[in-house]
């Protein structure tokens, strides 16, 4: 596979996963902001999914339609869903011969959907849940289309590698934010509510209920989010899958490149697997998640160097 194509398809996977994670986090925040007056600020998400200064954030942080419009549809915000979907489509255009026609058309439909005028209207004046939900479902449709139509070749592996790195980064980021919030503001019921929203943001609420029967604790939440290998948004699941897709590249790789990445992915995976973080020590938890994030970025940049010809 051409290095440029591998790079583009890898980033296609990353952008689409970023969009999906972002929309779910926004969706959860919207629900929680309506549910709980203490949650009625968009500041944490505006900081991650935007480029605004503090005074600019202050101007819209309590105004849901403006905040939603900025994070989802704003064209000058490089991190908006509008732009991540546009970047994904731009990437897909450049590699149309490596994805299926179905994948291309699905993404192209997604692109036209995010540009539709009615989205802005509904976010601003109607029910914001409906358009966000529609966008999330379209993201799921994309994932299914990739799985059902693409051959299990290099392209399929790279799109999943990109997706899983991005997912692991997203899980790390969202967990850090919520755990830091919990550490800062403790009062009765506060922690449970925050943990629920954290689980919602990572599509883990229902799984958690099934495993832990409604008893919301940091320990259980971290066990699910960090170590559960059946939960598709946990760090360990993402890393193990990433390793699996990477291993499939062995025959298409130069040995020295493969070995370098194999070492890095294995190291990060084992760091997660064999470190038992103390949930009551917020500083230790933060350090653990920060180090994981650094390791994930190193994996990404090493792919760039050894597989995509980026120097």
């Amino acid at each position: 596979m051409l290095s440029r194509v591998a790079d583009t398809i890898f980033w296609l996977g990353r952008y689409m996963e970023r969009t999906s994670g972002m929309l779910q986090a926004i969706f959860t925040q919207y629900i929680s902001s309506q549910d709980d007056p203490e949650e009625n600020t968009w500041r944490p998400l505006l900081k991650i999914y935007g480029e605004l200064t503090d005074p600019e954030i202050e101007a819209i942080e309590n105004h849901s339609p403006k905040a939603l419009d900025y994070m989802i549809l704003n064209r000058s915000n490089q991190a908006s869903a509008f732009n991540t979907i546009t970047f994904s489509r731009e990437n897909a255009r450049g590699i149309q011969d490596h994805i299926t026609k179905e994948v291309w058309q699905c993404l192209n439909d997604y692109y036209h959907l995010i540009r539709a005028d009615h989205l802005h209207y509904e976010l601003f004046y109607g029910d914001p849940v409906a358009p966000i939900d529609m966008l999330i479902k379209h993201g799921l449709l994309f994932t299914g289309t990739v799985d059902n139509t693409m051959t299990r070749g290099e392209g399929f592996n790279f799109i999943h590698i990109g997706k899983l790195i991005e997912r692991a980064i997203h899980t790390t980021d969202v967990t850090r934010i919520k755990m830091n919030e919990i550490a800062l503001r403790r009062h009765e019921g506060f922690e449970g509510a925050k943990l629920r929203y954290l689980l919602y943001s990572l599509f883990g609420f229902e799984v958690y209920l099934k495993i832990y029967k409604g008893n919301f604790t940091k320990r259980h939440t971290l066990d699910l989010i960090l170590y559960n290998t059946d939960f598709p948004h946990s760090l360990l699941y993402s890393l193990e899958r990433l390793f699996r897709y990477f291993t499939r590249l062995k025959n298409d790789s130069l040995p020295e490149n493969f070995e370098r990445l194999e070492y890095l992915i294995g190291k990060t995976m084992n760091h997660i697997k064999y470190s038992k973080v103390d949930e009551s020590n917020s500083a230790e938890l933060d350090l653990y998640l920060s180090q994981t994030r650094i390791d994930l970025f190193e994996i990404s940049s090493t792919f760039g160097k050894h597989y995509f010809g980026n120097t």
């Binding site: 596979m1 011969d97 298409d252």
Partner: protein, 480 residues
């Protein structure tokens, strides 16, 4: 549809593709009978469905305005243009004859130049052509084929006969629209294609791939064929991706290729891999910055020498522009007589070379009946329609002609044939041309039965180019 047909008014003195004075032409009868019972709103629905399909399949081009890209579809008219089998046989024979002669001309002009030595064509005309590449002189190309892919523009005059308007022998585009238009027709007119015995166009990518493979020089079972594109911002990028996908070959950009020791390689995740054949959609002047434009970032440094040494085949060959130059065009009938000893089957549009003072005087005197074109421009750019230009435009154009007469030709304004188009809920006549696509391989020339019918959608316009408000139609060739 009946009501729609009743409101249709052909242009007087213009050949209408669907209607003759005695009624609907035979080729269209089955199609009309299949849709005549449809209510008008159903036609509008089909029209809207076609637009939606183009949009959702990404058959679009991007217009950048205020720093933002806006997706537009190439306008498509749902009523097909239909060509009967006998007429097609004539077109096919005429195109094969013409391309054979043009290909020999290219071989000749870049080698022994018999046509100049025998005084059939003035040497000055060739050497003054900006697309004559001295770098191609004495370069041997595989199988002596230069014009692997061509799209010859045909028009039909009021008397019903076809004329060649121009030969596109460099990187002709539009074939993906021929394929997409057909796939849209399947959707909007179910079963009508088989009932009309319409010949298939879907073999095009297979034929092209077979020809490309045959050009590989290495004795290996699976030579590497790539399509070299300028990238996603090129207006024909959709076509590049479509063809690469349909042929199952790699779509590459200049930055994906590297030349080492006069061999071309792609940069892959497994290191460098040798390339045998390049179907390039990058113009000559951009293809190798070491030989042509040094500021080009679309091409590959060293590609010319790899080609010259025969280590890679390039399709179409470099230097073809000399054969589709509009001044050289006037000599194509002579070429056919000279090289093939045959009379041309397809006629040229009468053309005046403005380097000839008498012709220039005649053209200036009758400028309101003339269209003046630059010899090395295409896409409908740089031409003057004498019947619609302002006096100021005419004066400016005359000054440009006087400054460099070699760069201009003039043709009488041909009354292009018209065909019904479904526009704003009404059937209205609009002018059309036809671009059939020909593939020249070691086994001979194949003309795909169909082509791109381009239509001037603006009322009264005769400019069919997509860049100038033109659209397209599906083109049906009926089997006998």
């Amino acid at each position: 549809m009946d009501r729609i047909l009743q409101t249709y008014r052909e242009h007087a003195g213009v050949w209408d593709e669907m209607f003759a004075s005695e009624g609907i032409r035979t080729t269209y009868k089955k199609f009309v009978s299949a849709i005549e019972d449809l209510p008008p709103e159903e036609m509008t629905r089909k029209d809207e469905l076609a637009k939606k399909l183009f949009m959702s399949q990404g058959v679009t081009f991007t217009v950048y305005s205020s720093g933002e890209g806006i997706e537009k579809i190439f306008p498509f008219d749902v009523i097909p243009r239909i060509i009967g089998s006998e007429e097609w046989l004539l077109i096919e024979a005429g195109l094969k004859q013409r391309l054979k002669a043009l290909n020999i001309f290219l071989k000749d002009i870049y080698h022994r130049q018999f046509i100049l030595n025998d005084g059939i064509m003035p040497a000055q005309l060739v050497y003054s052509c900006p697309n004559f590449l001295r770098e191609m002189v004495n370069v041997d190309v595989p199988f002596d084929i230069y014009t692997h892919i061509s799209g010859v523009d045909l028009i039909r005059d009021a008397d019903g006969s076809f004329y060649v308007l121009e030969d596109n022998l460099r990187t002709p585009s539009g074939v993906s629209y021929m394929l997409e238009n057909r796939s849209i027709t399947y959707r909007i007119f179910p079963d009508i294609l088989p009932r009309n015995n319409v010949r298939s166009v879907k073999e095009y990518p297979d034929l092209l791939y077979k020809n490309l493979l045959a050009l590989a020089n290495r004795q290996i079972s699976n030579p590497t064929v790539v399509l070299l594109s300028p990238g996603i911002y090129n207006s024909a990028y959709f076509e590049h991706t479509t063809l690469a996908r349909l042929m199952g070959i790699e779509l590459v950009e200049g930055r994906d290729l590297i030349v080492d020791n006069n061999f071309v390689y792609t940069k892959t995740t497994q290191g460098l891999q040798q390339v045998d054949v390049i179907y390039r959609r990058v113009d000559d002047e951009f293809i190798d910055p070491l030989v042509f434009r040094p500021d080009s970032i679309l091409g590959v440094s060293g590609l010319y020498w790899a080609y010259r040494k025969g280590n890679v085949a390039i399709v179409n060959a470099m230097g073809n522009g000399v054969a589709d130059d509009k001044a050289i065009y006037t000599y194509v009938p002579e070429m056919i007589r000279y090289y093939l000893n045959e009379e041309p089957i397809l006629k040229n549009v009468p053309t005046y070379r403005l380097s000839d003072p008498d012709s220039k005087a005649h053209v200036f005197e009758h400028i309101e009946k003339m269209v003046i074109k630059r010899t090395n421009e295409s896409g409908g750019y740089g031409m003057l329609m004498g019947n619609s230009a302002t006096q100021e435009e005419i004066d400016n154009y005359k000054a440009a002609v006087n400054a460099a007469p070699r760069n201009f030709i003039a043709q009488p304004i041909i009354s292009l044939s018209s065909t019904p188009c479904y526009l704003n809920g009404l059937l209205q006549p609009r002018r059309v041309d036809l671009r059939p696509f020909a593939l020249y391989g070691p086994d001979g020339i194949d003309i795909v039965p169909g082509g791109l019918t381009r239509v001037a959608l603006k009322e009264g316009s005769m400019v069919v180019n997509s860049s100038q408000g033109g659209g397209s139609k599906d083109t049906w060739v009926l089997s006998g």
